[in-house]
Symmetry: C2
Subunit: 230 residues, 2 copies
Amino acid sequence: MPAPQPPVTPDRPAHQDGLPAAPESPDSTTARAKGRPRSAAADRAILDATREALAELGWGGLTMGHVATRAKVAKTTLYRRWPSKNELVVDAVASLFDELVMPDLGSLRADIEAVVSQFAALLARPETQAALLALFAEGTRDPQLRRRIREAIVDPQKRLVRQGRAAAQARGELAPDCDETAACEEVDIIFDTIAGTVEHRVLVSGEPITAEWTRRFTTLLLGPFPSLVP
Amino acid sequence: MPAPQPPVTPDRPAHQDGLPAAPESPDSTTARAKGRPRSAAADRAILDATREALAELGWGGLTMGHVATRAKVAKTTLYRRWPSKNELVVDAVASLFDELVMPDLGSLRADIEAVVSQFAALLARPETQAALLALFAEGTRDPQLRRRIREAIVDPQKRLVRQGRAAAQARGELAPDCDETAACEEVDIIFDTIAGTVEHRVLVSGEPITAEWTRRFTTLLLGPFPSLVP
DNA sequence: CTGCTTTCGCTACGACTCGTAGCGTAACTG
DNA sequence: CAGTTACGCTACGAGTCGTAGCGAAAGCAG
């Protein structure tokens, strides 16, 4: 790989933000493009092809040429939208994490177990397995990529922890926050623990997440609150 | 990358085990080689060059050609010893984890905090950062590589958890094991939690491991044993 | 010392990927 | 209609990969 070029885009100022802005909302505030609009169908085809190729070939086998061929798109079209494989995969994988939701099942334990199960199911998918750790690895070298990963993938999950906490506080299971920053740090620590542990179990140890394991792990998480451990 | 070739080695039956067997124990059970012995100095030079290049260029920038040049060794010599970049990096990085030790400071809390600090320091090093997640990522696709990673890197750390548990049981802080398999599963879950959480904090969230964070995290781990939380 | 065996460094090779440039054409706007 | 932009296609130089072939060097048995 050559040096990480500054995000120069020959055709357009590049999307630079989250998902590529598909020109489908004509009355949006975005300046109406003048020439031929970018094909939204091509965007979808590219992202789908990326996910499929990721599941089949893995991160190392994924090639911009492959994606272009599979999406029935010229390689140059690919590079007009995404400057590198990393950014492409972030966008292709980010949407997979949208399926994670906080259920509010009536107890903190049940909520945690449900989220862990959802996350485990997501990590069991081949596309996710092939992409997630490789993206994280690239992120350790490229701060800008890490920022994109945080915004597109990590932070949306942190929201789940906050929702679960809030629900538990509304139920009276948890004491309401006294210090704002302390609450923030607690959210961070809980999040890193859940995400890191499940990822390590599935992707590194390579062992499945069973209901029994989820029960034990949740018990560990609830340790500081013995009243919630039946 | 082409298909993951079976480990064919043209010159010798390949090392196939842990570290390359340096021919330094003449009365070992290994059949005494007849021809010119492999240079042990070359092995050390290659592994050192790999760690240096890893710290400078990262995983993606690491090239077999670079390593060979930096180690003042022909590229063919590299391929005679390690069939691919993955295996090379496993051996180059594995020794870094030897510095992790279980201190036995007199209390379970102190022991845990010490190990977490050591692990955090290890993860702060550029070689480790560049290699660990990338290796894990490749391991999700190549079961054989995953086995090598487990044997060379992951399992030695699991030993720390067992030692810490044993010490705490000897001190009377923890109840002795009743069920063998349950104890094993508990070791697994503790290990995945510590390793996964610290890795996620450092490598994904990209935030440092402070003494305060370590204290909070240890408190979370000790949650099920409130008597140990001062 | 002389053969035998194995590794060494070196060069070269075909296959592949990368990211870019140039071109003519297609699509949409005013 | 003209103007603007995206599109598909082809081609390119640079770089990496893993292997093959060669002569030379290093160790060991006789």
